[in-house]
């Protein structure tokens, strides 16, 4: 079995340094990056290798990421059943991602700091604390306090995140919130290649503002995993909110 990792332009394949186990399969202007599937079941290491390959490729040239574990019997099947049947569609999608990459930003909040700020400032929470400590208080009172606190923490962190990421959002073509809980906010940004430096500068400013309140993890450039639908569904995407929702 052969794994298909991604597709790029044939003219770009030459400029990418491929790991030894990866080879290319050509069909016209398109190239698929393939490798032999492991005999054993796929593991996390295979996921890391898949992503590493795509990251190495997208650093140099546009690449369409394929789903992890996309498998065909042999190289010929990669050509006949992956590249050729929808060559025009793949070419259109490659064009759509030509000038953009995905950058991801994780804000991991110091929840204790958020809770402390809320406990200091929020009169409703003060009242609920008193109730939860009353002589007849039980689980219901604690839950009410916890729910109110959780809501305030979420609001507090969302407001901070919005404020901090304003500059990065201005640089991005689109953004999508991938995950949000009481501690972590993970956002993907679609950024033009020629604006990555601007995005980096925005994140540096963000990092300074978030110091002591949240940890920052900033990753990229990645293939546009989070924007494939938006970029390739139609040649002329409809205007929409920058936030994608």
């Amino acid at each position: 079995m052969v794994l298909v990792h991604g597709v790029l332009w044939e003219r770009d394949a030459a400029v990418i340094t491929l790991p030894g186990e990866v080879r290319t399969v050509n069909a016209g202007p398109l190239v698929a990056l393939v490798s032999d599937a492991p005999e054993r079941e796929m593991t996390g290491d295979d996921a890391v290798a898949h992503l590493d390959l795509l990251v190495a490729a997208v650093t140099e040239a546009p690449v369409l990421p394929f789903a992890l574990g996309t498998a065909v019997p042999d190289d010929e099947a990669a050509r006949e059943e992956v590249l050729l049947p929808d060559a025009d569609g793949l070419a259109r999608r490659l064009e759509a991602v030509a000038d953009v990459v995905e950058l991801r930003l994780d804000l991991t909040f110091d929840t204790d700091a958020s809770v402390a700020a809320i406990a200091r400032e929020d009169p409703d929470v003060h009242r609920l604390v008193e109730r939860a400590r009353g002589p007849r208080a039980g689980l219901a009172e604690r839950l009410a306090l916890g729910e109110a606190t959780a809501m305030r923490v979420a609001e507090h962190q969302a407001a901070l995140a919005e404020e901090w990421t304003e500059g990065l959002l201005a640089v991005a073509e689109q953004a999508v919130l991938l995950h949000s809980d009481e501690q972590l906010r993970r956002t993907a940004y679609l950024v033009r290649r020629d604006r990555i430096d601007d995005a980096d500068a925005a994140v540096e400013r963000l990092r300074a503002r978030a110091q002591g309140l949240a940890e920052i993890e900033y990753v990229g450039p990645l293939p546009v995993f989070s924007f494939l639908d938006d970029l390739s569904s139609s040649p002329e995407p409809e205007p929409r909110s920058k936030w994608g929702w």
Partner: protein, 143 residues
């Protein structure tokens, strides 16, 4: 493209975050009989469980309670609270509170997802390394 001096990583460092990037993402070719999707061994992420919102609320309640006044006897911690929940006298009231909490959290925190079951990560299990939120899951590309 050059790597600037900014602290930008080429990819996530942890396996859970790598999986968050690549699992269920990317173009899917499914119209041809010889193309298949090979599954990945998911032990690492199947170990996750969804923590009930009630637990989240109780942790926040305790966090607030600890802040400005000396802890009191009633701050029982989760094991104590669980005992309280199963005691007959408190049952009916508890059930009502739990139901209400669950309903409200589904509306308020619909993005809540998983959390590592094992608590031995370096942050003491506090950090939630999770797969992408269900609400943000994107349908695979179809070709």
């Amino acid at each position: 493209m050059t790597m600037s001096s900014v602290n930008r990583a080429p990819r996530p460092s942890g396996l859970a975050d790598v999986l968050d990037v690549v699992l269920d993402k990317g173009i899917v070719i499914d119209a041809y009989i010889r193309v298949s999707l090979v599954g990945i061994e998911l032990l690492t992420i199947d170990a996750r469980i969804v923590i009930a919102s009630v637990d989240t609320y109780l942790r926040f309640a305790e966090a607030v309670n600890r802040l400005d006044i000396q802890p009191q006897d009633q701050v029982a911690g989760l094991p104590g609270l669980m005992r309280e929940m199963t005691q007959g006298g408190a049952k009916s009231k508890t059930k009502g509170a739990l139901t209400g909490a669950k309903e409200s959290v589904q509306g308020a925190l619909s993005g809540l997802t998983g959390r590592d079951k094992d608590e031995d990560d370096e942050d003491g299990g506090e950090r939630q390394e999770s797969r992408s939120a269900p609400a943000s899951r994107r349908a695979p590309q179809r070709s």
